[in-house]
Point group: C2
Chain length 774, copies 2
Amino acid sequence: MDDLEQLVPSTAREDSDGEEENNAPVLPTHQRPSINASNIMEQSWCSVRQRVFGAASNIQGTHEINENIAPQYESLDYDICENTLMRREEDSKGDKFVFRKRIARWFVFLLIGVVTALIACCIDIAIEELSSIKFRFLKYYVDLCMNDRCMYIPHLYWVATNIVPVLIGTILVTYVEPVAAGSGIPQVKCYLNGVKVPRIVRIKTLLVKSIGVTCSVLGGLAVGKEGPMIHSGAVVAAGISQGKTTSLSKDFHFFNYFREDHEKRDFVSGGAAAGVAAAFGAPMGGVLFSLEEGSSFWNQSLTWRIFFASMISTFTLNVILSAYHGFPGQLTYSGLLNFGAFPNISYEFFEIPLFVLMGVLGGILGALFNHVNLKLTLFRMKYITKKWLKVVEVLVVSSVSATVAFAMIMLIDDCRPLGQDPTKFPVQLYCGDGEYSAVASIWFQNPEASVRSLFHDPPGSHNPCTVGVFFVIYFALSCWTYGLSVSSGLFIPSLLTGAAWGRLAGMFLEYLFPNAAWTNPGKYALIGAASQLGGNVRMTISLTVILIEATANITFGLPLMITLITAKWIGDLFNEGIYDLHIHLSGVPILGWEPPQLSHNIFASQFMSFPVVKFNCIESVARIVDTLRDTIHSGFPVVTSVHDPRNQQTEAGSKLCGLILRSQLIVILQNKIFVENKEEWMGKSITLKLFRDAYPRYPKIEQIYVSELERSYTVDLRNFMNPTPYTVPLAASLPRVFKLFRGLGLRHLPVLDNRFELVGIVTRKDLAKYGTHH
Amino acid sequence: MDDLEQLVPSTAREDSDGEEENNAPVLPTHQRPSINASNIMEQSWCSVRQRVFGAASNIQGTHEINENIAPQYESLDYDICENTLMRREEDSKGDKFVFRKRIARWFVFLLIGVVTALIACCIDIAIEELSSIKFRFLKYYVDLCMNDRCMYIPHLYWVATNIVPVLIGTILVTYVEPVAAGSGIPQVKCYLNGVKVPRIVRIKTLLVKSIGVTCSVLGGLAVGKEGPMIHSGAVVAAGISQGKTTSLSKDFHFFNYFREDHEKRDFVSGGAAAGVAAAFGAPMGGVLFSLEEGSSFWNQSLTWRIFFASMISTFTLNVILSAYHGFPGQLTYSGLLNFGAFPNISYEFFEIPLFVLMGVLGGILGALFNHVNLKLTLFRMKYITKKWLKVVEVLVVSSVSATVAFAMIMLIDDCRPLGQDPTKFPVQLYCGDGEYSAVASIWFQNPEASVRSLFHDPPGSHNPCTVGVFFVIYFALSCWTYGLSVSSGLFIPSLLTGAAWGRLAGMFLEYLFPNAAWTNPGKYALIGAASQLGGNVRMTISLTVILIEATANITFGLPLMITLITAKWIGDLFNEGIYDLHIHLSGVPILGWEPPQLSHNIFASQFMSFPVVKFNCIESVARIVDTLRDTIHSGFPVVTSVHDPRNQQTEAGSKLCGLILRSQLIVILQNKIFVENKEEWMGKSITLKLFRDAYPRYPKIEQIYVSELERSYTVDLRNFMNPTPYTVPLAASLPRVFKLFRGLGLRHLPVLDNRFELVGIVTRKDLAKYGTHH
């Protein structure tokens, strides 16, 4: 070691200051390797620094370490392993292969768009048809019992028609596939960020999610179908692109060159976009959603493909739904717009401050919603852990939803003349002849239809009291509902809550300025809806575009933007967006967009993991099997030991030659690609196909049988490892490591000391500990 | 050296194959260092490979090396230099500073939006007012001379009113600031890509550009003002964010912490977006333009700020222009839409194939345009090199424009009844009383107004023959005009050309299906315009959104997308987009989005530059000065030499300790921060401010005086260098190096051999040689 140091002299010795300072670690390192490169710098500068500038404050204390990182989440591997097999495969493929792959890729995106739209159509139509039956009977019973004084019958009927579908939905979600709970957007976000959320893109999840969300909406919960549709798009993309399903254990053997994490991720981002496009009829919104929530590296050609998938998705959806609504081929039929067209809406200069104010309100209400929901979720995580308890909670919420709505209909007297507001199921209730109950009309339809009502009902259709009570009830219900063990989207409930208070604000303005042309309560309902949704989820760009596309009104883009940006700013003062809150609560090691501020003084030596479990280039099978069994690491550096020939006592340093993944080792062991077996496996060609066929669910090490004789064999890892992994020096700062890691989608990043020996490794969890900037 | 190898044994020696192959380079390297790590791999695999799989074909021949990379372009430095000064500065700043910087950043984006919009307004209003005068007199003379048979007068008047403003414009561009020629979009694209195009973001450029484009449009050239407005936004952003202008040598001393390339780039992308927003009234389009053309690393918070700037820009523009048009405060006034609103436009299912067909046509016409323009540009580069020749060419084009238009008006007889199509300056010409000449109405207005006419004139307003001839003339004129030494945008001429043939197609359909409701020539004009523009510039996403926003019709988004994607696909079969063609013609080392296909077998050893000019940690002033003088490199690795103590003969290996930039060395020399001067400069605090104040135009080394005594002094580079540059091994493949370089915006990437000694360096030019994938 000493001799080595003579060969690789620490620069400190050349220091012109001549100050041979002790190697005392400058930074708080509990037995961590000292940062040599940094020390060199610090040593030479130290004296100058203290004399000239005075001792600098130590900033490190300000960075909180988040210990709530769940260990079970693994990373996806977006880095391409350029091993010999891969290079050989490339050698054998020509431009023709590249062209074919490119065509295949576009084709897959086409399929993703079509299939996602088909699923969305099924959900749409199922909900439409079934709820129409439900409300028709409900109206029938209400009309019938109004005279017979048997209102308990419609109430019971309502509770029953809520409970039955919700029961089906929650049982599916709770017992069959718990990962299908909620909107799926946080999970998709994690996946695109590079975290392997188990079972998130499986066919089973898709089935449970689609049926589940139909049941939830049908069951009258305060949920929307949009989030689950986005998740469905992601699953469809992952499924189609791989050309096989492990759930149904069927391998179609096409597209197998897409069986890599980074290819799959690209398709999934397209699928999510197609989902948004199908959910809202918003292709541009889909692209932006995918970018805003998912991407890290902007890739132009990928974005085109995403755009293409979204477009195809909207197109397919519109073709089918226009036919369903009886206007086949009329793709501009306005009934296709989720929230109805706002054809003649304008705003005046002086309304801008009002929009800002509403943005502030939305930000506050959104932060409140998130806070209450967070507390509720913590409560649930603590007390509602049993599966049957979850089901019971869902049923309670479901019957409370029906009961509260029923009570509101009974208690509030808000009659409007028929004809002015043609709802689908107008009920007379206590109202006079030729009148209908405006309260019932909000409740006797799906939440999405209610949003449309609040947006488009002519001024005077609603009573402020009705809308006010409705807002309070719906705010509470949706807050309680999000996080239940059912498939449920948050978009529609947020929009509905916001539309309610927005419309209320509009009515108030109408009251203040009775003759002004600009006081359109529908317009303010739209602003309120945007504001509330922005306050909850804190997306700005994609939401703006989604709302523009879903209302087909481009001139109203500016007010929407102003509102959404304000809502985000205000909300961010209090807490994070609801999706991020839930992600952090579940301890997923998600990486933000930017490294934490003022973290240039945190070095790799402080956050890397060490000691590193490593393999030699030629490693014995026994050691590989034992190591895989004894550790949970998913990647291992491959090193050559460097012995100092003159000093056998010193520990050997290790020079990094490559990086090998657990999954690769598993395949190697499974196929017994041992050096001693060479004669045997050299007959078959060892290609990447072997690895692709096993992707993505590799067997566990325990499932692989290795005989005693085989344990004495060796494996030559050099043909399989990634020979040129990116590395960083010990003195690399957190932002520098973060950018490399995040920008290139790495999974393992070896850390070298200033003798270029391997001393540590940085993984996602090491970085996620620092609360990065979202 | 041999001894060193014993210490750092080549893994080949441990190879269980026991094959000690010769170190003969496997890859064609003309005297390049052999790829040791790769060799190791290859050596052990070689035999297996050849026996089992047969020799693989060598793919390298398929990668063409583009030697047309101009040497004068330097890179921007987006990597943060984390030297001691920077770390110390961070130590001394707290969260308060972070907060203040964040506020300042938003404020700068606000200013960018406002100022960009103001400039756009000035250009808009100047063009509107002056051209209105021009055409009024033109109409007056035409009306006057029609009876007096003195038509040479309006012809001469027209030529004169074309020539005078164009002369002013071209003299400004040719003699004052040649970089202001053209649309500026290619230059902004290069800047955002990381290439320092000299003088591109200076105030002088802005002035010349703004006045120049006003003159060009006024001079009746086939140009638009949109491209220059985008460029203006970029200059405004660069200027405001730096808080100083070197052109006017004024330093306002605020925002000086934004004086770094990466900060400036962020602002410039915001400025470009604000420019688009102001040019088209399309804030979303601005964001997407910035992303599609500029960004590489998607950063959410940056995108929000860009969005904010675009929004502010549109808002400011709308406020001013609505007042100018006499509707103050009415921000939804439809006259603000660049291309007019399409309120009631719909399309049928069976029209989709027609849109695809038009996309194909647009792609072909666009490719033709690009091809002809390319040949023309090559001709110009060869023959029209003198400045006066450029001016003459501009004048020729300008008078030809007027003459051709005049001839067309005279020769084509296309009279329409007055009142049906109220153009601003209807002229009677040969037409009967109560009629006006439809030919003259296309020409007697600015190109932008002509686009509006073709989009919105009711069916039957135009004669197919007129529109056909107009298309041919305008196609030729705009192709000839782009590349002249004037400020000129390509958007409007492309749209106009496309609108012409699109309207023609629409008329043809009307003729075929006389009673069909869907045959609206205006709609087909829009599709044609999109298609032609898409075929020329090959942008899809941002163009879709820009056209949607500029026509305020969201339901028509899908046809636009289909057309644009088709046009891009077809056009890409023939050549690149016009901007990329011009970029490559000028030899700018721009990096595409993705590395070339099938390039995993090209290694860093093959494309890196070597030998490397390097400095020692403590380097003599003499050597620094001489090296800076003798080389043109902009960055130098800092190394410590590693001598083998037992063998003084062998060349010393060099271990990388950091990387220092030429600009930093210049500042060090200028301020005489020499070790021997320590007493002197330690009094002043040496902070980053010193470096920021000199940014971005550092003195040349020849401008710095170093005395003979000082030449014997030394500099301690360790406090200033970037201590942890990213590095790659020799065996790293082209895609791997490319991703690192492109993803992180690097400028210099040291290459280490498998003993971790510095052997080469990769710069942008080394990568740009390979035709990367756009």
